[in-house]
């Protein structure tokens, strides 16, 4: 009788454990869901508006904490820290990447032909970013910029070996506690840029189709921000892994509106491909 009671108690504990684990998994699956947008209007938030590195953030924090800089505009300190960050990122470029650096922004297909960005730029795009669990096995990502979309497969499949590269690549994901980890490969050769190396002034270079990206998304403990840590590896472009960070603010009232009026520049129209 006593043995039976012990077994029943054990069964109840196991059942409770399973229920808790299931509830936690369910909670993780929807914890990041919703609409996110521009980072907090702080110096640090602005520094990471597109992307930033730990090295750059460290430099910015030192500048902000030095009372000798109190009279200088925040944007000037941000620019100074970005210069340091730019030197670091440029130092990671391979000779092949340096051959293409800096790209001419007037030849950017996004500018010339209103051609949407590849993943290496899109995942750091400013403004709206929406994450939605789609059933048990998929997560849909939408971006305000270019109204771009991605699908993340969460069913445990492996990255396919021979898949045709595309702008957004092929993404599989998994949960590590409350962190969403996404691995992407099969990304077409395209443009990598960072404001720190003069992005949008010709600070970009080309990455190859060997680019692999691991993204880690975590919600802050106060729930107000979403943090991305992305590791980019491409032996043709970078001497080693490049780790970039980005922050969004919780923005449930925002919407992604159509990207319906991309105007090709007048001076390029006659030469640009349709």
């Amino acid at each position: 009788m006593s043995h039976l009671k012990q077994q029943s108690t054990l069964a109840i504990f196991v059942l409770l454990g399973l229920l808790t684990a299931t509830a936690n998994a369910q909670s993780s699956r929807t914890k990041l869901d919703g609409m996110w947008s521009d980072p907090p209007a702080t110096a640090v938030g602005t520094f990471c508006f597109f992307s930033c590195t730990d090295l750059g953030l460290d430099r910015l924090n030192k500048l902000l904490d030095d009372s000798a800089n109190d009279a200088r505009p925040a944007m000037q300190l941000i620019a100074q820290a970005k210069t340091v960050e730019g030197d670091y990122i440029r130092g990671l470029f391979t000779p092949e990447a340096l051959k293409h650096f800096p790209l001419d922004p007037l030849k950017d297909p996004g500018y010339l032909r209103c051609e949407p960005w590849g993943l290496a730029r899109q995942m750091f795009a400013p403004h709206q970013f929406e994450m939605r669990q789609n059933g048990r096995d998929r997560i849909d990502l939408r971006y305000g910029e270019w109204a771009a979309r991605r699908t993340i497969y969460m069913d445990g499949r492996k990255l396919p070996a021979n898949i045709k590269p595309s702008k957004m690549g092929y993404s599989i994901g998994r949960w590590d506690g409350e962190t969403l980890i996404i691995e992407t490969s099969a990304i077409e050769a395209n443009i990598f840029e960072s404001l720190a190396v003069g992005g949008n002034t010709g600070g970009g270079t080309l990455h190859s189709d060997q680019l692999r990206i691991v993204e880690r998304y975590t919600r802050s403990s106060d729930g107000k921000t979403l943090q991305l840590t992305a590791t980019l590896e491409d032996p043709v472009t970078f001497r080693g892994p490049l780790v970039l960070k980005k922050t969004w603010s919780w923005a449930p009232d925002q919407k992604i509106t159509p990207y319906d009026s991309c105007e090709r520049p007048a001076e390029s129209k006659k030469d640009a491909k349709p």
Partner: protein, 147 residues
């Protein structure tokens, strides 16, 4: 050294432009951030769209000749973040607009500031810049209190 100094001068402008916009094209490739032009005229159309809102303006000179101007704004995505709507600028209203001139097209500006006929103003990025500086002052106060 020269390159670093140049970068320090240019980057705040880029960051300001970038922090607010930079969507499908490079700002500096199209516009001259170091210059500003002011034009007064009557709005013929304001298109509140992505990736960039556009305003079309007829400016009449003293001889009565009408020049057509195009003013490019940040996109609807981020203008709506700071409270703009499709009615923020109305067709038929008289405005004075200041912006960065285009390198390549005459009579084209990138928006910096617009003054309505009643004197009220729309200024690009002002809210965010003010908030950044306020955050910084608060951070400095906290630092000083900890000493």
């Amino acid at each position: 050294m020269t390159s670093s100094r140049t970068c320090l001068l240019i980057l705040p402008i880029l960051l300001l432009c970038s922090s607010v916009s930079l969507s499908h094209h490079s700002f500096s490739a199209v516009y001259d951030g170091s210059k500003e032009t002011t034009v007064a005229g009557v709005v013929t159309q304001f298109r509140f769209v992505n990736p960039h809102a556009m305003m079309y303006l007829d400016a009449t000179d003293s001889s009565g000749k009408v020049a057509k101007w195009v003013v490019e704004f940040d996109g609807r995505l981020n203008l709506s973040n700071v409270g703009w709507t499709a009615d923020s600028i109305k067709s038929g209203e008289r405005v004075t607009v200041t912006g960065n001139p285009s390198h390549t097209e005459s009579n084209r500006l990138f928006f910096r500031k617009l003054v309505h006929a009643d004197g009220t103003e729309l200024v690009r990025g002002a809210q965010r810049l003010n908030a950044i500086e306020e955050d910084r002052r608060q951070r400095a106060r906290q630092r000083d209190q900890q000493k």
